[in-house]
């Protein structure tokens, strides 16, 4: 308000404010609720959420808890749950998390209808809606906020992280959740050779395990052999939850239950290991088949998530609200508002499009691509939904020539930097952007770090060799001595055979049109590219087997939270098994300590040591940025992954009756899709 305005107006305003404050402080029950749009002067340590005492101190009240009126009905459907239900205040932790909804206090009810492709395919979209972890990224994608954990504390050199859990927190079957469940997850599952024959590398630190100890029922101490400042980021964005219900799973382990083997035999299984794997399927992914799918059991592993699976079939899954969920809104209502989540498997993209335009899908973002944006936008009012575009962080489609390909002549060519430069210069990225990405992206080189999420990427790195210069590309190729001797339009390799590259791709990795364009661009240089489309599984198996000439996919796992704790993108094969890049022989050499594979050049060896150092410094510090710049320089110089278009956007669809929906700052797996946007406070209007 500017000075010198009409005084009475100001006086009225002041009076109103005072009244409001009085109202808030004396009668919270009938005051307007605290929401993101109107925080009513409430302040909190973390944005839009409070610890109970933090909230109650400000409202000077005791929050009374309310529950979903139909929650006992859903409790009946969760097999193994005690019935009747205890009152809501006994189901909530004594220290529940209090959140301010985005728009308003929601109303209970409704089914969120979503789509996946199959039991373990395209599921993380919906998984992320019910997901919980120790911590979470706020919707600004910068601040880490508590979730399962009440608070955390680092020691000075980032080798010890103390996590405090919530008192009285309970699993979805009502059993207490304590620090024992965290220790159990690491000691008895991750490090258990019967479960993981090899300990997953991601839970080893500089090759050594961490120590997870329970100081008391609510205090867990993670001790690392090396500084690991990024681990909190992992807890904030990771699909895997570092806790498992000990009380439930220990029944199947001989270590805890002497009758476990007998139980396994009774169920017709070979041993207790097999019995355990029926419930914990050798992976922290929450979409592994439940015992419901095979009809082995009617009970599933208890969870801390907002919803729990009650039906699992080959056509879909069905989830209902968890009666013990640990979050309440500022009016004291236990979340989630949504009664049920229905997940139907739809493999065909066109059926998916029709379902969306017909208004049969409440929310969908994974596997909705920009090419369908015009169609979805034009049908918005018909299907009563809204489709928005959000940045797809790091999703730059790359082409990586296999530097350790089995064909030795090709390997010789692919290992020349000049060749990779030429192939990059031959791409008309403006045209790619226009045709494939509807003009919404920006030509950019492939980066092992998403530029908008980190502070160390320079423009010259982003723009290295991205100009469209066929002549220069041709001269680079000619300088390598590759010529078209028989004048058939295709160059000859040094051994006289025609220069043919097989480009095997999956339609999940990148738009198919893009590969056709790239084939045309490279044909300009006299290189024949044979395209072959395969399924994603086949592509991945072939790539990881070192059977491909070129790998192509869109980058992922390159945003700040991931690279701060996981340097997979920095070192061969420059990606994980889902999305590998190149240098498989180098990777094999490294993992076998030099006994297998192909010895990498010095620069690659340097990458390993730089990367290990990088994750021991907190991100965005001077030391961290200095190391990162070195790593990036090596990448840009070598062009192992030739990038196309960066800063692209992708569609997110939600129905207009989905309340408390906040537009996404980014559509990316790197922050675990919807997890930052608090899907537990969505409701159906």
């Amino acid at each position: 308000m500017k000075a010198g305005q009409w005084k009475p107006g100001r006086a009225v305003m002041m009076l109103a404010a005072v009244c409001l404050m009085i109202a808030v402080s004396f009668s919270p029950a009938w005051s307007k609720a605290v929401t993101a749009t109107n925080m009513q002067g409430y302040t909190s340590q973390y944005p839009l959420q409070f610890e109970l005492d933090e909230f109650e101190k400000q409202c000077k009240c005791t929050l009374t808890f309310k529950e979903n009126p139909s929650i006992s009905k859903y409790n009946e459907q969760i097999k193994g749950n005690p019935s009747p239900l205890a009152p809501v205040k006994d189901r909530l932790p004594t220290e529940p998390l209090v959140i301010a909804p985005y728009g308003e206090i929601g109303k209970y009810g409704g089914v969120l209808k979503g789509l996946s492709k199959g039991t373990e395919s395209g599921t993380s979209d919906l998984l992320s809606i019910r997901h919980v972890n120790l911590v979470r990224y706020h919707d600004d994608l910068k601040t880490i906020v508590p979730n399962i954990a009440k608070s955390w504390k680092w020691n000075a050199d980032f080798t010890e992280l103390v996590i405090t859990l919530r008192k009285g927190h309970k699993w979805s079957d009502g059993a207490p959740f304590t620090s024992e469940d965290v220790v159990f997850w690491y000691e008895d599952l991750i490090l258990n050779k019967d479960v993981y024959e090899k300990t997953p590398d991601r839970w080893l630190f500089a090759g050594k395990p961490m120590m997870v100890t329970a100081a008391d029922a609510q205090t867990v101490v993670f001790s690392f052999p090396v500084p690991t400042p990024g681990i909190l980021n992992r807890f904030a964005v990771d699909y895997g939850q570092p806790f498992q219900p000990k009380h439930f799973l220990k029944k199947f382990m001989p270590k805890y239950n002497p009758d476990a083997e007998k139980l396994a035999k009774e169920k017709g299984l070979k041993n207790a290991g097999e019995l355990l794997s029926k419930y914990y399927g050798g992976s922290d992914w929450k979409d592994v088949p439940t015992p419901l799918l095979s009809g082995f059991d009617t009970q599933v592993v208890p969870t801390l998530e907002s919803h729990i699976v009650i039906k699992d079939s080959s056509t879909g899954r069905h989830m209902v609200a968890n009666p013990y969920f640990h979050i309440v809104d500022t009016a004291g209502n236990q979340l989630p508002y949504l009664n049920e989540i229905d997940e139907a498997y739809v493999k065909d993209k066109e059926v998916q499009n029709l379902k969306i335009t017909n208004g049969e899908v409440t929310f969908k973002q994974q596997a909705v691509f920009i090419e369908d944006f015009p169609l979805l936008k034009e049908n918005e009012s018909k299907g009563n939904y809204q489709v928005d575009l959000a940045p797809a962080l790091g999703e730059n489609v790359f082409y990586a020539f296999n530097t350790t390909v089995k064909d030795e002549v090709l390997r010789g060519i692919f290992n020349e930097i000049r060749f990779r430069q030429a192939m990059s210069l031959a791409l008309n990225r403006d045209e790619i952007n226009e045709i494939v990405f509807l003009g919404q992206g920006k030509p950019m080189q492939s980066m092992p770090a998403e530029p908008t999420t980190v502070s160390f990427v320079s423009d010259s790195q982003k723009n290295a060799f991205i100009e469209y210069d066929v002549d220069k590309a041709k001269s680079l190729i000619a300088a390598m001595g590759l010529k078209d001797k028989d004048n058939d339009g295709v160059l000859e390799r040094p051994d006289g055979k025609p220069f043919i590259i097989r480009l095997v791709y999956s339609n999940q990795g990148a738009p198919v049109k893009l590969h056709e364009l790239v084939r045309d661009y490279w044909a300009e240089l006299g290189i024949r590219v044979d395209l072959k489309e395969v399924s994603s599984d086949e592509y991945r198996a072939a790539a990881n087997n070192n059977d491909l000439d070129v790998t192509t996919w869109k980058n992922d796992g390159v945003s700040a939270p991931t690279i701060s704790q996981d340097f997979t993108a920095f070192v061969p094969p420059f990606g994980d098994y889902f999305n590998p890049g190149t240098g498989f022989g180098w990777a094999a050499w490294k993992t076998s300590n030099g006994s297998q594979g192909i010895e990498p050049p010095a620069e690659v060896k340097q990458l390993y040591s730089l990367s290990e150092k990088f994750i021991q410094h907190p991100m965005n510090t001077a030391e961290s940025n200095k190391i990162a710049t070195e790593i990036l320089d090596i990448h840009v110089k070598n062009l192992w992954k030739i990038g196309t278009v960066g800063e692209i956007v992708n569609p997110i669809v939600h129905r207009n009756d989905l309340g408390n929906f906040k537009k996404f700052a980014a559509k990316t797996y790197d922050y675990y899709w919807t997890y930052p946007y608090r899907s537990f406070q969505w409701y159906l209007k």
């Binding site: 066109e350 499009n353 015009p374 169609l375 936008k377 034009e378 919404q440 056709e516």
Partner: protein, 386 residues
């Protein structure tokens, strides 16, 4: 042709006795093929079918010349553009030389869809026998003459696809590919059927029983997995040409049982005839009897069967391409083009992607009608009975 037709009905009604006798004489001395042709000529619908197929074949064979550009040429100024109709007049008046208006594309700011904006002030005239993209006719004769072209840019009679490639050009080449796959597939099936059906039908007995069982086995296995299995077994290194020939082989391998059954049936029927016995007695070999005496007696039936099996080959090709196991770009076939039409986007925003489907439907109908016509023409009862 109606069942009531008599022998005379075949001829044009003529009053003069002399010429009638001549014609009758001509009829009785005519070869089997002449008779078939005369009868076929009367079958107007079948004639149309034949003409359609011949036109399509010509389109495929001379695709390089008829098409205004190459199959990979991208028109960046007209992406996902609708078919363009040549005009003879506009608000500025009449023109003998057909033309189209200039076009610019812009993006809708909300839906991000590319829209074509016609500029009615500019005319682009169509010229014939113009110089354009270089090509080699049938891989041999280098040329750059195209049947038609614009003074500037490309005329898109069927519109363009999502990469701005001319759909008319692609349809022409696809027609050639798909028809030739059909021809080669049918031929392969025919050769196999001839050998297997021939042996079964002529040898009879145990051999016949065994072959019958094998035929039955091939017939009960669903074709799609069989296609998929064989197509998946193609080595990855194969070029498109190799895949093309392998596909025709597969269609042949799967198509033979029906034909073989027919041939066997015919042979079994004719084996007991006197002329076969006569040939056997005079010491003719089995192979000679089959090829010289037995087969010619029902060649017309075989041709009909061959023609009728064409549509299945063509449809199999589209199905295989749909699962992604058929030909691969840059080759084009009807199946590959229809894959582009297989989405809601095409139905709502680019219905011209379905033009190749019209070609498939027309070709399949033409083959069927032609087959029907030939069957009637080849059937001697169709005239004598009444």
């Amino acid at each position: 042709m109606t069942a009531e037709q008599t022998i005379d009905g075949i001829f044009e009604p003529e009053s003069e006795d002399r010429s009638k006798i001549d014609k009758k004489l001509k009829y009785y001395t005519a070869s089997q093929w002449q008779l078939v042709w005369w009868r076929f000529r009367k079958h107007r619908v079948a004639m149309i079918g034949a003409l359609v197929l011949i036109t399509m074949a010509i389109m495929g064979i001379f695709a390089n010349f008829i098409a205004p550009c190459k199959i990979t040429t991208r028109d960046r100024s007209y992406i996902m553009g609708a078919p363009q109709m040549p005009k003879f007049w506009d608000h500025k008046g009449f023109s003998f030389r057909p033309f189209i208006h200039g076009i610019k594309t812009k993006r809708d700011p909300v839906t991000l869809r590319k829209l074509a904006v016609v500029d009615p002030e500019t005319r682009r005239y169509i010229r014939f026998f113009v110089t354009g993209d270089k090509y080699k006719m049938w891989g041999l004769i280098p040329s750059s003459i195209h049947l038609y072209g614009l003074e500037k840019g490309i005329l898109h009679l069927f519109g363009t696809d999502e990469l701005g490639r001319d759909l008319f050009t692609r349809t022409l080449f696809a027609t050639g590919t798909s028809l030739s796959i059909g021809v080669l597939g049918v031929l392969t099936a025919f050769v196999l059927a001839l050998i297997i059906g021939g042996i079964a039908g002529y040898a009879g007995g145990m051999m016949d029983y065994l072959i019958q069982r094998i035929t039955e086995i091939v017939r009960v296995v669903p074709v799609i997995p069989l296609y998929m299995g064989l197509a998946a077994a193609f080595p990855k290194e194969w070029s498109n040409t190799q895949v093309y020939f392998a596909m025709t082989m597969i269609f042949g391998l799967i198509g033979w049982p029906t034909l073989a059954r027919r041939i066997r049936g015919h042979l079994l029927g004719q084996r007991g005839e006197d002329f076969v016995l006569a040939a056997e007695l005079s010491g003719a070999s089995a192979g000679r009897i089959i090829t010289r005496h037995l087969l010619p007696s029902f060649t017309s039936y075989i041709i009909v069967d061959l023609i009728i099996s064409f549509p299945y080959m063509i449809l199999s090709e589209t199905a295989l391409s749909f699962i992604g196991l058929g030909l691969r770009p840059p080759s084009v076939s009807w199946g590959i083009l229809l894959q582009d039409a297989q989405n809601i986007r095409a139905i709502e925003q680019a219905p011209w992607f379905f033009i190749p489907a019209i070609f498939v439907v027309v070709a399949v109908l033409a083959f069927t009608i032609l087959g029907d016509g030939l069957r009637d023409a080849a059937d001697p009862y169709s005239v004598t009975q009444g």
